[in-house]
């Protein structure tokens, strides 16, 4: 191994650039350790302390920029410098090539044909900007959270009065006229329109529709609070009406956690006059009310996708799908095989999710099978984890929850918090690790690759103590996504995970393995 340094005399890069570059360079193969910064005396002292000081670095002054690294294998300083230049020029071109107006007004005066604004500001500033956009006649997608419910109601009432969409606040997924917005998968165009009050729930359904050969016309997000009584489902109703009127949409899918009863009634009343098949997934909600108005109820996100695709093809809605893509006997054999490898101490399941709705679905499907599930987003208040950083017995964690994201990117963008936890969960009493990997625009460039090493390490740690860890994953995404569905699944398989075709199937397999473990003498 060799320590080498590259320098830029009197070069200044802003702090954000420096930090991002440091993180990217540290990930390059053969980079054992790296320090990037301005060559002040104390930073040189730190370099010496880390065994990264070189004569070149020693000779620099405080206004010089340096990169010093310990390299191994094939890595050379030349390749590191090339990577550095590529990162710097990528940042430069991304900053310089796109038009970045300073205000909404400037944008509209330069591009008067604009009809939609995507707003992502700290919540306290967002409402004022949404108001300006609506006043200018723009549809709005509001990515920001921390907007008060009073502001949400007022802004949505204004949008409705102007026949505009106001998706959000906290709306992370939409696809309008086939243009993906924020976290969104690349799907084939088709006749299924989706209105979703749940980000990853919507992504799971649109991805599965694509995998099943169907296509999507529009995806309209509403924000998670839209179906509460305070808001009254203003945007769910507005979007629903828009899809009813949309000639390209033949089947409509509505997704939400169970709405307030008064809001559910308003939405379901509209189903009666829709004139199009409507699939309703009020995740875990009352199916009799849905079926009473002629809509199709579902038992999982996957079930919703399967029913929507069948209806789109002119078939009648199939019965509830509670099974697997492969024969049940194969699944039973797999469950027995996995259970058979477990040590007597291994009796718990841990679910580590980046998608909140996928975590929620997992708990709803698993609860009846395995009993109490501790969580940071529990189904029952008494199952709240005391410390979200420490799992207990059966635990399901949503890493997208505020407890993990304050001051940090969402785990779909930066999965490192979840990746680190995977290794920590490899304890002697854990038998099954369940997880999601979400692809698409907005997500990490290689979320499967990000967890692969940790999956290997977790399995090796358990194996070293005489046990066996079953890792079950599902990938929410499509072949058209930048990360590639097949490639992501292969990465996970190669790391030792069992990859299932949907979140629901991954959860059901986990439940079967847990049952097989209990049947062979373990406890839970």
């Amino acid at each position: 191994m060799a320590v080498q340094t590259t320098i830029r005399k009197n070069a200044y890069y802003d702090s954000v650039t420096l930090m991002l570059i440091t993180k990217d360079l540290a990930k390059l193969p053969g980079v054992e350790d790296i320090l990037v910064g301005m060559a002040t005396e104390l930073n040189k002292e730190l370099a010496a302390n880390l065994n990264l000081l070189t004569p070149e670095l020693e000779a620099l002054s405080a206004n010089d920029f340096f990169v010093t690294a310990e390299l191994s294998g094939e890595a050379t300083m030349e390749s590191l410098v090339n990577a550095l230049d590529a990162l710097l020029s990528a940042k430069k071109s991304s900053a310089g090539s796109s038009y970045r107006p300073a205000s909404l007004q400037t944008a509209l005066s330069n591009e008067p044909q604009l009809n939609m604004a995507l707003i992502s500001l700290p919540g306290r500033f967002a409402a004022a900007e949404v108001e300006k956009a609506l006043d200018a006649g723009l549809h709005v997608m509001l990515f920001s959270d921390n907007v008060s419910i009073e502001d949400e109601k007022r802004l949505k009432e204004k949008a409705v009065s102007k026949q505009l969409l106001m998706m959000g606040p906290d709306c992370g997924t939409a696809m309008i006229n086939h243009i993906p917005l924020a976290f969104c998968n690349v799907v084939k165009p088709g006749g299924i329109g989706i209105v979703g009050a749940s980000g990853t729930g919507t992504q799971e359904i649109m991805s599965l529709i694509d995998q099943l050969g169907g296509g999507v016309s529009q995806v309209i997000g509403t924000g998670g609070r839209d179906l509460k009584s305070e808001i009254g489902g203003l945007m769910m109703l507005q979007a629903f009406e828009a899809l009813i009127a949309d000639p390209e949409t033949n089947v409509i899918v509505l997704i939400s956690k169970p709405p307030a009863p008064d809001v559910a009634k308003k939405v379901l009343d509209l189903v009666k006059d829709a004139g199009k098949p409507v699939v309703v997934d009020f995740i875990g909600g009352d199916r009799s009310a849905i079926e009473a108005v002629g809509a199709v109820a579902c038992i999982s996100l996957e079930d919703a996708a399967r029913k929507a695709v069948a209806l789109m093809r002119g078939e009648s809605a199939p019965s509830d799908f509670a099974g697997f893509d492969v024969p049940e006997a194969d699944i039973e054999a797999l469950a027995a095989h996995e259970a058979g490898k477990k040590a007597p101490t291994q009796k718990y399941l841990r679910g580590l999710f980046t998608g909140g709705t996928l975590a929620d679905e997992a708990m709803k499907l698993l609860g009846p099978e395995i009993g109490t599930i501790w969580s940071n987003i529990p189904l029952k208040p008494e199952e709240q984890l005391k410390d979200v950083k420490v799992s207990a017995e059966h635990t399901v964690i949503d890493f997208g929850d505020d407890a993990f994201t304050v001051g940090r990117p969402h785990p779909m963008i930066d999965p490192s918090t979840r990746s680190e936890r995977i290794v920590k969960e490899a304890a002697p009493d854990v038998a099954v690790l369940l997880m999601d990997v979400v692809l698409g625009y907005g997500s990490h460039p290689d979320p499967a690759g990000e967890v692969a090493a940790q999956i290997r390490e977790a399995r090796e740690n358990i194996a070293a103590s005489g046990g066996d860890l079953t890792v079950i994953a599902s990938v929410c995404g499509t072949e058209g996504d930048p990360q590639g569905l097949r490639a992501s699944r292969e990465t996970l398989s190669e790391a030792g995970a069992i990859v299932m075709p949907s979140n629901a199937q991954a959860v059901r397999l986990s439940a079967k393995i847990m049952k097989a473990i209990r049947d062979q003498g373990g406890e839970h």
């Binding site: 954000v16 910064g37 301005m38 302390n49 970045r100 700290p122 304050v406």
Partner: protein, 311 residues
């Protein structure tokens, strides 16, 4: 392109020292630094950025598109600045003066207990929302500070904090000593930490800037009378010459006098004086400064105020 707003010290500089020459020092997307031959650094920011000492704001979103580059000649007149062939006149610009509430009658100021409460909620927010890659973990590891309460479980230090925390302890402790011996100790401690850490303004400099500015502002637990403290701070800042970046040297010079960026200024007012106002909004706004700079500045300010209120 118009000059929209200008800090008061820029105007003073132009009035007192017209006809200065210099060059463009460094350029960024939304900021350009000008370095005059007298050693004064002046910054131009885009219309999306807040003001800071020795800064003026122009009616442009991106400054890169102006084609200014390091080394380009710059000169000053009593009316404004000339960069290449661009004249930037200050006559219609709005003047910004940092807030100073020292002279408020006691009845309108925060009580010590109220200030302590504000500091506690600010520190809690800082620990949750701050960026831990710089010096933030020091708050949980410092030997000389009161423990801030609950530290996030993943706040376990980093290579920078591991290296510098002993020196930060020495600095913080020595700064609180108002004697002559204390002055000598604090200067030594300062020279042992200036210019350290990641960033264009290295983390330790941001920390010290926050520490000095907050120590000047605090209405309770002052180290010494404000005039003397300003002089001592200036001595400290002068020791930074050549030990850190030019940009950081300028920041420390201003902070020594209590002059800080607009968003920091607002935060310190809310921590030390104002009884009304949204502390959380001001803190989040201040955090969004550079990469770790906002967090490191606030870490220094929190440390100084903790020591002052517990004195």
């Amino acid at each position: 392109m118009k000059v929209l707003r200008v800090s008061e010290d820029c105007l003073t500089f132009l009035t007192q020292s017209p006809g200065q020459t210099g060059e463009v020092h460094s350029t960024f997307e939304r900021a350009v630094n000008l370095l005059f031959s007298s050693g004064v650094l002046m910054t131009i920011v885009s219309d999306q950025m807040d003001l800071a000492p020795m800064t003026f704001q122009v009616s442009k979103g991106s400054l890169k598109s102006l084609g200014w580059h390091p080394g380009m000649p710059v000169s000053s007149s009593s009316e404004g600045i000339i960069i290449g062939e661009t004249h930037l006149e200050f006559s219609h610009a709005q003047k910004w003066t940092p807030m100073w509430s020292f002279d408020l009658p006691p009845s309108e100021q925060l009580t010590r207990a109220e200030m302590m409460k504000r500091l506690e909620s600010f520190t809690k927010l800082l620990l949750i929302r701050g960026k831990p890659e710089g010096l933030l973990p020091y708050l949980c590891e410092a030997r000389v500070l009161p423990h801030p309460g609950t530290c996030p479980a993943d706040m376990t230090g980093n290579r920078y904090v591991d290296f510098i925390k002993g020196r930060l302890d020495q600095f913080s402790e020595a700064y609180r000593d108002g004697t002559e011996a204390g002055e000598s100790r604090v200067i030594t401690a300062f020279t042992r930490l200036v210019g350290f850490g990641p960033g264009l303004t290295p983390s330790s400099d941001d920390y010290v800037a926050g520490f000095m500015a907050a120590s000047i502002r605090t209405p309770y637990g002052q180290v010494m009378n404000r005039e003397k403290l300003l002089k001592r701070n200036q001595k400290l800042a002068s020791r930074a010459k050549g030990k850190t970046t030019v940009i950081s040297e300028a920041m420390l010079e201003h902070a020594a006098l209590g002059h800080v960026a607009q968003k920091y200024d607002r935060l310190l007012e809310l921590l030390c004086f104002e009884t009304e106002g949204d502390l959380e909004a001001a803190a989040l706004n201040a955090l969004d400064h550079g990469d770790t700079s906002g967090t490191d500045f606030m870490t220094g300010a929190a440390a100084a105020l903790m020591l002052a209120l517990n004195a």
